[in-house]
């Protein structure tokens, strides 16, 4: 089976990679003061815990023995104070480390998101959207744990253990050595456990992924399963995958079932050692009862941080794998190169020249979608592009806005090569209205203005009125503030079209590119849209991928594209007279409209 072939998202790399770590730590740098604060708090908090058994020892050895009631009260109050202080610091510590983690990943997430906004369409064409989304959401999220609990809690655990050792050795170094003799066993056991659990975890994950992808695939293809009447066989296969998953999980239960009681046993062994050795010392008056008492409490204390420390390994491993993927996207450099000294043009007259333009989406120089294309468009004129599917019409649109760079030739706007003009200025002067309208979730307002603060309320309403979108908008309960669902789900096709027209008009561009929708809409909307298009084209340089007869008939010039080449040019009547490609296209695509319109 090729099942072991894993994609990016499944790789569990090594737990520590110095190069990645250094790069990650850079993001913590701006918050260095929080880090320092956290470490200081850590050292204090870590000391307060082990302080309490020590105070207990004093209570036992000095006050309880001597029947000093006041002394016991003082120590008890001291214990309370230490406890409250520890609680308070612990709270602050957790809060600040979490804050640190959150701030850090916010920065990283924003950097990543901002970076993706710069990437060229070429990159988006070949990258599944889901993968990009995962990078800026889940992958970044799994770094949170590293920044918040990971790094700093490692310090915390280390400090706690160190403090406990300090107190123990201060009280009695011989008894300390005897007690700590269980540590190597604990370390080794934990190491072994972690290793087994890690291997098993990989197994569990693998089987879970298999289970999920099996289900996912069958649910997607459920009709095939039912039509071929394979439910019984599918269930059998499902059961075997399900059983593998169960087996892997039961194996993990075994490790946990051994480990946790094992740790308990070790802790009891430590106590047994304290009683056996320490008790002996007490008999010989080398040791006080209070020390024994304190030691018993210490053994309960140092097991947890040591056990926790080993758990941090997992956090580290996940974080490394995620950061690898995040950085890979961050290092992606498929961008349209900006000119070194961009020519600023706040407004364009709208003259367009294509000079021997050849273009293909691939990297090879043979699969051209557009071949040696030359034409020019005068300011304020409307040019219609017609052609069969696959003729290369849509590519022309993308090229003018410089979404892709061409392989050969030159595209000029106002006699300037578009590679020399500032990208922002170029695109701000060109509005594109695409065939399938993309609406964002938000409001009607935000979809028309695209949240551009430069567009005033009046401009927005004016734009909506000009294209005739105001009529239906005014009828909505919240008018321009009416909510728009994802992809404009609650609006009709015609309404979406009108909104996208208003969007283009609100930007008042000098150049307008329109890819007319082919989808059929009711006659009333059709009339609305037709007049809206006329409004849109008025006084602008316009390129229209035409599907409407009226648009073509009104165009100043028609370019007939066939398999990436410009075959015929002229106006409607001239081209019809030629009886060439246009004539055929006309009969195929537009003639019916004449019948239905008349």
């Amino acid at each position: 089976m090729a099942a072991d072939k894993k994609n990016d998202d499944e790789i569990l790399g090594k737990a520590y990679d110095a190069r990645l770590m250094r790069r990650l730590l850079k993001y913590v740098k701006p918050y260095l003061k929080y880090v320092i604060l956290a470490i200081v708090l850590n050292i204090i908090a870590a000391a307060l815990g082990p302080l309490r058994p020590y105070l207990t020892k004093i209570a036992i050895d000095e006050y309880i023995r001597d029947r000093n009631y006041t002394g016991l009260s003082y120590v008890s109050i001291g214990l309370f104070a230490a406890l409250f202080l520890q609680t308070f610091i612990q709270y602050l510590l957790t809060y600040y480390t979490q804050y640190l983690g959150q701030r850090t990943i916010l920065d990283l997430r924003m950097e990543l998101f901002a970076h993706t906004q710069k990437l060229a369409l070429k990159f988006f064409d070949k990258t599944p959207i889901g993968r990009m989304v995962t990078r800026v959401t889940n992958d970044i999220e799994s770094l949170n744990e590293l920044f918040s609990s990971g790094i700093i809690m490692v310090f915390s655990d280390v400090f706690i253990v160190l403090w406990i050792f300090c107190f123990m050795f201060y009280l009695d170094w011989r008894l300390s050595l005897v007690t700590l003799s269980v540590l190597p066993v604990l370390f080794y056991g934990t190491f072994l456990f972690r290793k087994k659990v890690r291997e098993n975890y990989r197994d569990v994950r693998f089987h879970l992924a298999r289970l999920n992808s099996f289900m996912q695939e069958r649910v997607t293809g459920i009709s095939i399963v039912q039509i071929f009447f394979k439910q019984k066989e599918e269930l059998k296969q499902f059961s075997s995958i399900n059983a593998d998953h169960r087996k892997a999980n039961i194996e993990s239960i075994f490790y946990y079932a051994v480990f946790y009681p094992g740790v308990e046993l070790l802790s009891s062994a430590a106590i047994a050692l304290i009683i056996w050795y320490g008790g002996g010392e007490i008999i010989q008056k080398h040791l006080s009862l209070g020390v024994l008492f304190a030691f018993i409490q210490y053994t309960e204390m140092f097991f947890r941080p040591i056990r926790d420390l080993s758990e941090k390994y997992n956090i580290l491993q996940t974080a490394m794998a995620s950061s690898e993927r995040v950085f890979k996207l961050l290092d992606e450099d498929t961008i349209i190169p900006s000119p070194e000294a961009p020519i600023r043009k706040s407004s364009l007259s709208g003259k367009i020249d294509f000079k021997n333009v050849s273009f293909g989406y691939g990297s090879s120089n043979t699969d051209f979608v557009l071949k040696n294309l030359s034409f020019n468009i005068q300011p304020g004129k409307t040019t219609a592009i017609v052609g069969a599917t696959g003729a290369g019409k849509t590519s022309i649109i993308s090229l003018l806005s410089r979404f892709y760079d061409i392989q050969n030739g030159q595209i000029l706007v106002d006699d300037i090569d578009i590679k020399e003009i500032s990208e922002k200025d170029l695109r701000n002067n060109i509005a594109i209205v695409l065939q399938d309208v993309f609406l964002f979730s938000g409001t009607i307002r935000s979809n028309i203005t695209m949240d551009n603060p430069a567009i005033t309320e009046e401009q927005m309403i004016k734009a909506a009125r000009m294209v005739g979108a105001d009529k239906f908008i005014e009828q909505l309960p919240n008018k321009y503030d009416e909510e728009v669902k994802e992809r404009g789900a609650t609006l009709s096709t015609g309404q979406k079209q009108l909104i996208s027209f208003a969007r283009a008009l609100a930007y008042n561009p000098q150049i307008l590119i329109l890819d007319e929708a082919t989808s059929s809409i009711d006659t009333e909307t059709e009339i609305l849209i037709q007049s809206a298009i006329e409004k849109l084209l008025e006084g602008r340089t316009a390129i229209v991928i035409a599907h409407r007869l009226s648009t073509i008939q009104n165009a100043d010039k028609i370019l007939v594209l066939h398999k990436g080449e410009l075959k015929e040019t002229g106006n409607h009547q001239e081209l019809l007279a030629k009886r060439g490609i246009y004539y055929k296209l006309y009969q195929l695509q537009y003639k019916n409209q004449e019948i239905s319109n008349s």
């Binding site: 406890l83 009447f229 499902f238 009681p261 308990e264 802790s267 106590i271 009683i275």
Partner: protein, 583 residues
């Protein structure tokens, strides 16, 4: 708890193992509570005269008691938690068995993501209840009883005073746990907003770039991220309090024992060992008290999840064999008749098909044309009984379609869908999907008819090549041709092609159609297509429009009619001319 009660049958299946688990819990607790008694006694004798031997004996006993408890603790996990995985397996199996038999209606109303969420998250939540929740609640209960009674026997007043803060602890865990859960839900909501935002941005990147709104997008993404941070910090505020307060409350208990116990020792009412034992017992009680609050949360979540699962499990399997099925029908000849058939997807929706009357004799070919949404695919879905008609009748060989056992019906029909769905598996397994066991000979024969054989030769491992996510990606045409082969393998009496050659080039299509002509002798076929070339030789052609038959007849008849069919014919002729145009 109403919904969780439906788990009863699963529990009963493992009752023996669970009962043993109960016994193990009791044994393990007896061992673990004995350790502090031993420590107590050893400390107490230290205050009087003693010797190494006695100390050694106690030390040894401590290890033995702990070992005893540990062995049973191991067994608890090996019984109860293992059972939880077993029940999870059973539950998921039942869930899946039900899901795959649900009618298509269910799948068109519920997204794959939604169903997957139930299959993973909800089953997992229920598993947490079955395993950890059950284990800890029994364990806690038994431990509480034993430990508290021992503590009381050591010192009644001290036990009561020191235990006072612990119920607060349980309550706190419960209350804060709820608070955490609520705030966590809010975080998840924000997170999904963030995800949606990113999703939308990347889907609409073309629009964003053309309106140069990148900076605006970054700004609004930043605002969302900041809100997400705020929601997170709101959770942190509670969560950060949680652990310190746990330690505070338990710490207070311990200090009470030291202070009050200390005075009692001074008065000679207690021995130091007693205090040690009480402190250790408090330590033993902390986790159960925490677990108690935690368990309640798990139960609540499991209840909600189980409610969702029960809802799915009670979805009716609308289309299945019932008392009307005539089990003696094990073979079909393929004479199809539609009598006044109407269909709509739901009560509130309009009819998709209206009064369809059709006769398709054995061995004949029916071709269906029509625009998108005219009801073509719906018509063949009814034939496959993916949906039941809402009016009229479909008869096959004179039998009402509902009386034909589903297995007979579907095994007799070879169906090639519009969007060829293939599994991430080998080609052999995909093509022989309808067979009980893969048969390479039949696979090769079918692939030859489908004009797919020549492609397979170029694949790295021939018919064993894995396709899909983890293998090679097939082109649209290759997918369609393998889907055709998959249908032919069944040796079907009825063949349905639902626009199955849209991605196959016309030359190859012609070859396939020629091959099929031979194959389709004595079989009935229904072909949906947009291409005149595919349908022109059919015995009968219908043109659907808005769910009704607008035109019916042979190619010549329809051409003469000069209606929709003739129009399509003319256009395709022009298209062909355009395609071949060179200057």
């Amino acid at each position: 708890m109403k919904n969780l009660f439906s788990l009863k049958k699963y529990f009963l299946a493992y009752k023996k193992k669970l009962l043993w688990g109960l016994v193990f819990i009791i044994c393990s607790n007896i061992g673990s509570v004995y350790v502090p008694i031993l420590i107590k006694n050893s400390i107490n004798i230290l205050q009087s005269a003693t010797n190494y031997e006695t100390l050694g004996k106690y030390a040894f006993l401590i290890v033995i008691a702990s070992l005893f408890s540990g062995v049973f603790r191991f067994l608890i996990r090996q019984s109860i938690i293992v059972v939880s995985r077993e029940i999870e397996y059973d539950l998921r199996g039942d869930f899946w068995k039900h899901i795959q038999n649900l009618p298509m209606r269910y799948f068109s109303n519920n997204s794959t993501g939604n169903i997957m969420a139930h299959a993973t998250n909800d089953i997992n939540a229920v598993r947490m209840f079955i395993g950890p929740a059950v284990m800890y609640s029994i364990d806690t209960f038994i431990r509480l009883i034993i430990v508290i009674s021992i503590m009381l026997s050591i010192s009644t007043s001290l036990t009561i005073y020191s235990l006072l803060p612990l119920p607060v602890l349980s309550f706190l865990v419960y209350y804060v746990g709820k608070l955490i859960h609520d705030r966590f839900t809010k975080i998840q909501e924000k997170f999904s907003e963030l995800t949606t935002k990113a999703q939308e941005n990347y889907s609409g990147i073309r629009v964003i770039k053309s309106y140069t709104r990148e900076s605006g997008e970054i700004e609004s993404f930043r605002n969302l991220s900041k809100e997400y941070l705020k929601k997170n910090m709101k959770l942190v505020k509670v969560q950060a309090l949680f652990q310190p307060i746990l330690f505070l409350i338990t710490g207070v208990s311990v200090i009470i024992v030291i202070w009050l116990g200390g005075t009692k020792v001074m008065r000679g009412e207690l021995l130091l060992g007693d205090i040690t034992a009480l402190i250790i017992y408090l330590g033993i009680l902390i986790w159960p008290m925490i677990a108690f609050g935690w368990v309640i949360n798990i139960i609540q979540q499991a209840e909600a999840s189980m409610a969702r699962l029960n809802k799915i499990l009670s979805e009716p399997i609308e289309i299945k064999d019932n008392e009307d099925s005539v089990e003696t029908i094990i073979d079909l000849k393929g004479a199809i008749k539609f009598e006044d058939v109407s269909f709509r997807y739901s009560e509130i929706q309009p009819d998709v098909l209206k009064d369809i009357n059709l006769i398709i004799p054995v061995g004949s070919t029916l071709a269906i044309m029509g625009h998108t949404g005219s009801g073509k695919s719906t018509l063949v879905n009814l034939l496959l009984r993916l949906y039941d008609v809402t009016g009229g009748n479909i008869l096959i060989d004179g039998n009402e379609i509902k009386s034909i056992p589903l297995k007979t019906l579907r095994k007799s029909i070879g169906y090639v869908p519009q969007e060829s769905f293939l599994f991430s598996d080998s080609l052999t397994n995909n093509i022989s999907y309808g067979l009980d066991a893969p048969d390479l000979e039949i696979v090769k024969k079918s692939a030859a008819i489908s004009q797919f054989e020549k492609d397979v030769v170029d694949f790295p491992e021939g018919y064993e090549t894995i396709i899909g996510e983890r293998g090679i990606t097939l082109s649209g045409g290759q997918k369609q041709r393998s889907a055709l082969a998959r249908a032919l393998v069944l040796n079907p009496k009825i063949l349905i092609l639902d626009d199955s050659f849209s991605a196959v080039d016309t030359n190859t299509e012609e070859k396939i159609l020629t091959n099929l002509k031979e194959f389709m002798k004595n079989r009935t076929s229904v072909i949906i297509s947009h291409r005149i070339s595919t349908v022109k030789d059919a015995d009968n052609i219908i043109v659907l429009k808005d769910g009704t038959i607008a035109e019916e007849g042979t190619h010549d008849e329809l051409f003469a009619l000069d209606g929709i069919y003739a129009d399509i014919y003319n256009k395709q002729l022009l298209e062909k001319e355009l395609e071949e145009y060179t200057d």
